[in-house]
Amino acid sequence: MTFSAMRLLRESVTGHRGWKPLWRRPGPKPRYDIVIVGGGGHGLATAHYLSRVFGKTNIAVVEKGWLGSGNVGRNTTIIRSNYLLPGNQPFYEFSMRLWEGLEQELNFNAMVSQRGIVNLFHTDAQRDAYRRRGNAMLLSGADAVLLDKEKLRRMIPFLNYDNARFPIKGGLWQPRAGTARHDGVAWGYARAADRAGVDIIENCEVTGFRRDAGKITGVETTRGFIETSKVGVAVAGSSSRVMAMAGLRLPIESHVLQAFVSEGLKPTIPGVITFGAGHFYVSQSDKGGLVFGGDIDGYNSYAQRGNLPVVEDVAEGGMAVMPMIGRARLLRMWGGIMDMSMDGSPIIDRTPVEGLYFNGGWCYGGFKATPASGYAFAHLIATDTPHAAASAYRLDRFAGGHVIDEKGVGAQPNLH
């Protein structure tokens, strides 16, 4: 089934009776060439690129809950490539380019909307830092525009420019950044992978890894043993729990990040806006809700719910940057569990167990990375060599001192 205007027309005159489920519901086969653990954005993207780019099709994706039930459905849907460091920025720009061609490639409307992101700055020193970041972005092939206060005011008139404590002096704008429909991304990848022959097995929790002489020989699941020689784990949020079954301790802590959505409002926010003097970011969904968030709560958690001090902190950030938000009523808030790594950057690498590959440590930046993460992980699993854009995301970089620390706060995960 291919989506097209013609197809939509035909369905609309025949009472929409021809739409079929987007993917099959197969049970596990006894053996696969590759098993991907985690049916979220990254796992499904990995399966898709393994089949589309690397010609592998005897693949299972095993998911503990239902497809896309984790962080791919809990994030704030922002896509961007505005990083600074050489290990990061080319990877995120690679991801941005994949986003730009994603819907045509998947034949699925993921509602990728390049409405732009503006990072506000409030001091001269911050402007200089953003100029440097903008130059790093340009060097990687991304787009970046430094806006002064007057240009910014014409674009986003409703900000609190004359805040006594944090006056807004301008912003770093990436016009190609934007948002995407997060569930649609998971569904689009799942459908494409399924059509290529990948088995997506839901309600199938991995309970152990079977090994022989340091090599992976299969995974134990709640739906039986599956024999395989290659396992890719993409379960950010629960990475430590899953990898502990293979005897590995990770440079990761699990933390809760909260997100919020207001009641539906008329179109008011043109793109994504981030506060430069605190942690607050906001965009407006196509339904009209203001989608916003801020810092993680700061303590280890697997509870998918946070506490009130951070709610207050996020609200204060919002009020400081755009006081009109105080008139909007909060509709919903929720929490998701983040793999907070020791340098704030992810890991896509082999592990000491042969045939076991790891993808995790995404902190709270995993959604934008979904296409590149899947592509790079598929490259690693298929060829046993890292993809050029993800070659810095090594598991052993901490031991060697090659950390990729965008914020420069060191091995304190709750500060990244």
């Binding site: 301790r249 802590e253 700061g298 280890n300 509870a303 901490f398 304190q412 995960p413 709750n414």
Partner: protein, 95 residues
């Protein structure tokens, strides 16, 4: 979240800064032959359990004491709170 401080009674979690796993108290011996490996594990690797977790909380906006809070990371339930100084004193005695 309320933290039952052993000296001050229940205190709001926002008065605290969280440092992470209480294993940070056990600093490796820098003179040991395998000190580099031990320090790598000490600084970067975590058990990160889903369940009971012992962690260091600093009462930054209070009496500035360090606490060892035993907390369930699945439910946020607090099981025990001790002064970090008591924990390390006990450990010294048993050594």
């Amino acid at each position: 979240m309320l933290i039952p401080h052993p000296l001050l009674g229940p205190r709001d979690a926002r008065e605290f800064t969280v440092m992470g796993d209480a294993g940070m108290i056990d600093r490796p011996d820098p003179a040991a032959p395998d000190a580099a490996d031990r320090f790598y594990e000490y600084v970067y690797l975590r058990d990160n359990p889903a369940g009971v977790h012992r962690e260091l909380w600093f009462h930054e906006y209070g009496d500035r004491s360090w606490l060892v809070v035993t907390r369930n990371t699945l439910t946020h339930e607090i099981v025990a709170v001790e002064l970090a100084s008591d924990v390390s004193a006990k450990r010294e005695k048993s050594r």
